[in-house]
């Protein structure tokens, strides 16, 4: 972990604070693409978070638009259904004055009879500056990035990575906890099918957190410890002493009756109820990438309770995506943000 200077603990909404700038930060991103957190180093993550921090203010203005990316062309390629991520990228692009076009294809290229590479070549022929891709197959964004000159942002590739989600989660934790270093972060639920879990594990470990995962063994992928986390097959011991709790969506459409018997049994064993939450530290925050299954992985009184920061995550998602679009399509490092804004 890079050595960082002490940062004063920030209170939520302390938007004008510039102490973030004192953390070790990269001058720019090394790649033209954001394919996953695995490829980033801590300095690059800090750069994105710091840039996002400054972009938050734009969304609080009455005129929510700056000319930073005017003339830049961004294409949202959604090969898998998504509402909030797609919309978040669209709004982020528009607030920076970029032109953005969303293409939804609920089916894969195979079903359409066109190869993935052909689809990509056709889009590339329209000279986009950035491509944002959501796809059900791991590696789809990587193949796209290799094939084309435009920058590629992975907005979720199967159960592999979802880097902007991890970045917005990190920003939210930093907003509430000041620093991520040495925090105990618990990620629980359907780890096996979760790209959010994988990106969060990479991101939080790079920022110095202790990451704990908890899931029924049927939802725990093999040898998860190799990623550097501690794993539990019950929720309670994982929650003890937790600073941050990330509940994952149970994909009712995937698990079927073979991975868990019923939503009711799942809630009894793994639902984040008020009682279970009490095992964590008193000031622990509760997060969820959404969409939530209330009464399955999380009780409503916890999701809507005082420790929940779930809506902050959504707002931060916008800021993080503005930052990523800016850093990949813009022309310089974060120091230009203020002038551009």
């Amino acid at each position: 972990m890079p050595k960082t200077k002490e940062v004063e603990t920030n209170r939520p909404g302390d938007a004008g604070d510039l102490t973030w700038r004192t953390q070790q930060q990269a001058a720019s991103l090394k790649s033209k693409d954001l394919l996953g957190i695995e490829q980033l180093d801590a300095g690059e993550i800090q750069l994105i978070l710091d840039t996002a921090h400054h972009f938050k203010e734009i969304s609080e203005r009455s005129i929510k638009k700056v000319p930073t990316l005017r003339g830049k062309s961004i294409i949202n390629l959604f090969f898998e259904p998504s509402t909030r991520t797609r919309m978040s990228f669209e709004i982020a692009a528009k607030r920076l004055s970029a032109d953005i076009q969303s293409i939804s294809a609920s089916t894969s290229s195979l079903v359409k009879g066109e190869t993935f590479v052909d689809t990509v070549r056709n889009i590339e022929a329209m000279y986009p500056d950035l491509l944002v891709i959501r796809h059900a197959c791991p590696g789809a964004a990587h193949v796209l990035a290799e094939t084309c000159n435009a920058g590629v942002i992975n907005a979720g590739d199967g159960a592999h990575e979802h880097p902007t989600q991890a970045l917005l989660d990190a920003l939210t934790i930093r907003d509430h906890k000041g620093s991520i270093e040495n925090l105990r972060v618990v990620i629980f639920g359907d780890i096996a099918h979760s790209r959010v879990a994988r990106s969060n594990i990479h991101c939080l470990l790079k920022l110095g957190a202790n990451v704990v995962v908890a899931a029924p063994p049927t939802f725990m992928p093999c040898n998860i410890e190799a990623l550097g986390v501690e794993a539990f097959d019950r929720l309670e011991p994982a929650l003890e002493g937790a600073d941050v709790i990330v509940a994952l969506r149970i994909q009712l459409e995937r698990g079927g009756k073979i991975s868990f018997p019923s939503p009711r049994e799942y809630f009894n064993l793994f639902g984040l109820s008020r009682d279970k939450l009490a095992l964590a530290k008193n000031d622990a925050i509760v997060m969820h990438p959404g969409p939530m299954n209330r009464g399955v992985e999380i009780a409503s009184e916890v999701a809507d309770g005082p420790q929940s920061v779930i809506l902050d995550q959504v707002s931060n998602g916008l800021a993080v995506r503005m930052a990523v679009l800016y850093l990949l399509a813009g022309s310089g490092p974060a120091k230009n943000v203020e002038t551009a804004a």
Partner: protein, 429 residues
Amino acid sequence: MSKLLLKGGRVIDPAQGIDETADVIIDGGLIESVDSDLNINESNVLDVSGCIVAPGFIDMHVHLREPGQEYKETIQTGTAAAAAGGFTGVACMPNTSPVNDHRAVTELIIERADEAGSVPVYPIGCVSVGQQGEALAEIGQLVEGGCVAVSDDGVPVATAELMRRALEYTRMFDIPVIEHCEDLSLTQNQKAPMNEGSVSTALGFKGHPTAAEDIIVARDLVLAELTGGSLHCAHISSAGALRMIRDAKARGVSVTCEATPHHFILTDEEVRTFDTNTKMNPPLRSKADVDAVIEALVDGTIDAIVTDHAPHHADEKAFEFDLAPFGIVGLETAVPLACDRLLHRGHVTLKRLVELFSTNPARILRLGAGTLSEGTVANVTVLDLDRTATVDVSAFSSKSYNTPFDGWELKGWPVLTIVAGKVVWKATT
């Protein structure tokens, strides 16, 4: 046909216990003699000094795609690739279109191979009608048509009951049942594109556990013991399966098995590139499994090296990893890969290498080949163990070039392929 003399090579024939510098005279397509200082008419002498002269190599597991998928490979291009890879014969799997569950298809394959005229093709027929796993195919008819084994390769024989009957029924014809060992319920019906392990966890792919392989191997070993039929387990990739096969062989069960070069060289770490040429079934496994495959090649648990040559058009491999078809081509890389990675690295002896490529596959398929004994058909593979060259897919004879080995520099290559006394392929330089 005139005589041919192979002069000055090191002759390795494990079937006869020969390992010596000797000359080989071929007459009328048959081996006439193997001895020192033989001489014939000058014009038909091939100087093979410094080379290895071995009984013809046989690849007992290839997919030639004809009939039905000629855009991937044809019998003509596939057998040309075999000759260029040092093979004097190939056994082709029945999952063509239509599948080889009928004597007419078997005869078509043999006829096409004869027309192509490079290396003989030994068809493998289906175990079940349409490879559907319900009723036995007319195996007697398939054998009369020229099939040397039966298999539902691509998928396992569907039920224990059907496998039992296949192992019993084939005893009449003394042919092996070749099994693709995969419990489909553990691989999400072949939707899992890679090995289950740390890498699948990191990449978020559905995993194909070695247990899927082990379970069918276990089932079939029990059935082979019950029935006395001959079981041959295809492309074994798991340490657990090899332990069980080793144990069954020690108890005298009639079982043999094979492994591919990719399973003794590459691990699932390769999938991190998302290159669809690292997607095959069984998938690339862990380092421990690769080590176990090498150990089993050394100790004789594995009987044969095969390619599982699976040509796919580049357009098909251009899909997303999850959606791309399984398989890689192997005929033109298997022998140099084995020479470089097994022989030159000291894992196996030259004798063992020849057993794996020739003696054993010929024995398993009851071909009466795999030896240079006098009077047998003169199928010969000549190797130059010092030759170093780079794999170049653009020079392949195969129609397809889906391989992860393109650009690999390897030492030890075939230089001459002789089928029934005729040179069907010769290295260019």
